[in-house]
């Protein structure tokens, strides 16, 4: 199983990374490995972008019609069939295409994971890196002659911020930036504050179980917990992986902005003022 995953996902990605590295080295671009990481991440994101864009668009429409769906559910509480019919009609009216579903989206997870494992290997500072990479590359032209330089703007990509912090205190900016970017993306994805119509619906369903409330509250907290978690990972994992993750998130933010605008981010006080002006 692991073998299969390696051959199907990890090795092709490693080859792409090495190819980019060789190209950048050939062009005498400094910190070639760092730029290869950025390049490969952007490439993967571009490949996935049609999928993500469809999903984001559907997500936007879903958010727009969610008050209506709650209303339908309230109206026909005991008639599952009716709920389904009405919901489908609503989808049709608003041009939501529920046919895509979530499974195609889940297919991108192995790719994201594979990229992670490739980079984890690539930035590790071990003496065998040349031999290990050369074993996997498809063509001789890609073979490494010497170990790659893992420095990127003076930061050794193979080391973790938690190690570097004693010699380079400013390195804490890396986990900090990672957490902030992650927060921005998560916040953008969550719907902007409920409008009046949703509030009304909420009042009607007040008899909901308390358990739901807890889960709901926790979900809201996830918005803050998740970025902190990612920030912590970024603190304890090699800096090269933060470079990957930040490129990945930044691309996500841009794509999200293209589809939704600021989304939930417009709830933030300083952005709200600007919106009202």
């Amino acid at each position: 199983m692991i073998e299969l995953f390696q051959t199907l996902f990890v090795h092709p990605l490693l080859n792409l990374l090495v190819a980019m590295y060789q190209l950048f080295s050939f062009l005498h671009i400094p910190s070639a490995l760092g730029f290869s990481i950025v390049g490969l991440t952007v490439l993967i994101r571009l490949l996935l972008s049609p999928l993500t864009a469809t999903q984001l668009k559907a997500s936007k429409k879903m958010q727009d019609i969610s008050p209506h769906i709650s209303r339908i559910r309230d109206q026909h509480k005991n008639d599952a069939k009716r709920i389904q019919e009405e919901t489908m009609r609503l989808y049709k009216e608003h041009g939501v295409n529920p046919a895509a579903g979530c499974l195609p989206v889940l297919l991108q997870l192995p790719l994201i994971w594979a990229l992670y494992s490739v980079l984890q290997e690539a930035v590790r500072e071990n003496a065998n890196v040349v031999a290990e990479v050369n074993k996997v590359v498809y063509v001789d032209a890609l073979k490494l002659q010497s170990p790659w330089n893992t420095h990127f703007f003076g930061i050794p990509l193979g080391q973790t911020p938690s190690h570097l912090v004693s010699v380079l205190p400013l390195i804490v900016l890396i986990p900090l930036i990672t957490a902030i970017l992650q927060f921005i993306q998560s916040k953008m994805m969550v719907a902007a504050k409920p409008t009046a119509s949703i509030k009304q619906v909420k009042k009607k369903g007040e008899e909901k179980k308390q358990q739901d409330d807890f889960a709901q509250a926790f979900q809201t907290q996830s918005l803050y917990i998740f970025p902190i978690m990612i920030g912590w990972f970024s603190y304890t994992l090699p800096a090269g992986l933060s470079l990957y993750w930040n490129t990945f998130t930044l691309f996500g933010i841009l794509q999200q902005y293209q589809v939704h605008g600021l989304g939930g981010l417009s709830d933030l006080p300083f952005l709200k003022e600007r919106k009202n002006k």
Binding site: T52, Q55, P98, G101, A215, F226
Partner: protein, 75 residues
Amino acid sequence: MKHIAIHAITIYQLFLAFPLKTITGTQSVCRFSPTCSAYAKEAIQIHGAWKGLCLGMQRLFSCQPFSKNPRMQNA
């Protein structure tokens, strides 16, 4: 077994669902109601761990373009 399965799903809902949705960009796009995880929980309550999990998986796998029978009802 039943309790383990239900707790596992709760843990997923609390800790994993949000990161997963953020990373893949599927926040609030679910076509089913209740969500698959809630549905699986309910199914496990009613039918026991094994059959409940099967029902849950069946529903998760019907969330793709080729599915003909979107199940919107409760377990």
